[in-house]
Amino acid sequence: MTGGGFWTMGGYAAYVWPAYAVTTLALIALLLGALRGLRQAERELATLEGSRARRRAPSASAAGDLA
């Protein structure tokens, strides 16, 4: 660091910090958005497969009763 110190950015703090803030926020938003989409799809898939398992389950228990 030369010049006016870390936080003042040599007088360009009003431009440098927003630029980095925008970048950081955008990257975080991208990552969170992707993760949320993935989680949601996983959850829906789990629900669907759960309902199918339930549909199969009664017939299995009926067979068990017979035995």
Binding site: M1, G11, Y15, Y20, G37, L45
Partner: protein, 239 residues
């Protein structure tokens, strides 16, 4: 290779890549940030405002690179009709749009103190703005159809048509006398940037690229799951 082929192999490959790309971005981004904000010197003319370059330029590179990835996957989707290529193009578009917007915003924050204006209609800025509109048009087009395949194919054609904009962006600063300065890194005669400044630039660029791959994989995986959901629901409805 069929549309109804199981994309399991592709899923295995991207799952294997994911930890590496995630690790690379987790290592490179903080390192790049350190170099960019603390470990590199100010510019002889621009002072500390030059530090905006370390996010602005990698964002610009990614904006172009992601579009190339999108157009290439679009071409693969059209020629070989591979469903995975459609998914990759679709998943890449929003990421590219964010990088393009990031490039424009950070560029504006750099232009105000250095050039004396937030925005100017010169060839470089205008062509990057057109790139952003192409991304947005692509996203709107892909989502405008009830049949996801139709959307993906239409998007692929648009991505290919928009490819003509990339050389215009790259060479706009050489062909026209713009306010934007000419290329500093990819130019004949080597970079005109001091090595101490190239280091943070390349570290950040590497971090951005790894980050893009990571998010792309996450989004493609979500898309694959959604497709599986649709097919399962159809199967359920029929059987």
């Amino acid at each position: 290779m069929h549309r109804f082929a199981n994309p399991a192999r592709f899923l295995r490959i991207i799952t294997a890549i994911l930890p590496w790309s995630a690790g690379a971005s987790a290592a490179l981004l903080p390192l790049g940030l350190y170099f960019a904000l603390i470990g590199s010197p100010p510019d002889y003319q621009q002072g500390d405002s030059v530090r905006i370059m370390y996010v602005h330029v990698p964002a610009a590179w990614m904006a172009l690179a992601v579009y190339s990835v999108m157009a290439a996957s679009g071409a693969v989707a059209l020629v070989w009709r591979h469903p995975v290529a459609e998914l990759v193009a679709q998943a890449a578009a929003p990421i590219g749009a964010v990088f393009t917007a990031m490039c424009l915003i950070t560029g504006s924050l750099w232009g105000q103190p250095m050039w004396g204006t937030w925005w100017v209609w010169d060839a470089r800025l205008t062509s990057v703005l057109v790139l952003l509109f192409l991304y947005l048009g692509y996203i709107a087009l892909v989502n405008a159809f009830d049949d996801p395949t139709r959307g993906a194919r239409a998007g692929a054609v648009l991505a290919l048509v928009g490819l003509v904009n990339l050389p215009i962006i790259k060479f706009s600063v050489d062909w026209w006398n713009t306010l934007h300065q000419p290329a500093s890194v990819a130019r004949l005669g080597g970079p005109s940037i001091d090595p101490q400044m190239l280091l943070p630039l390349f570290t950040m660029a590497g971090g951005f690229a790894a980050f893009f791959v990571t998010v792309l994989i996450l989004r493609v995986r979500a898309e694959l799951l959604r497709r599986k959901l649709r097919v399962l629901r159809l199967a359920q409805a029929q059987g």
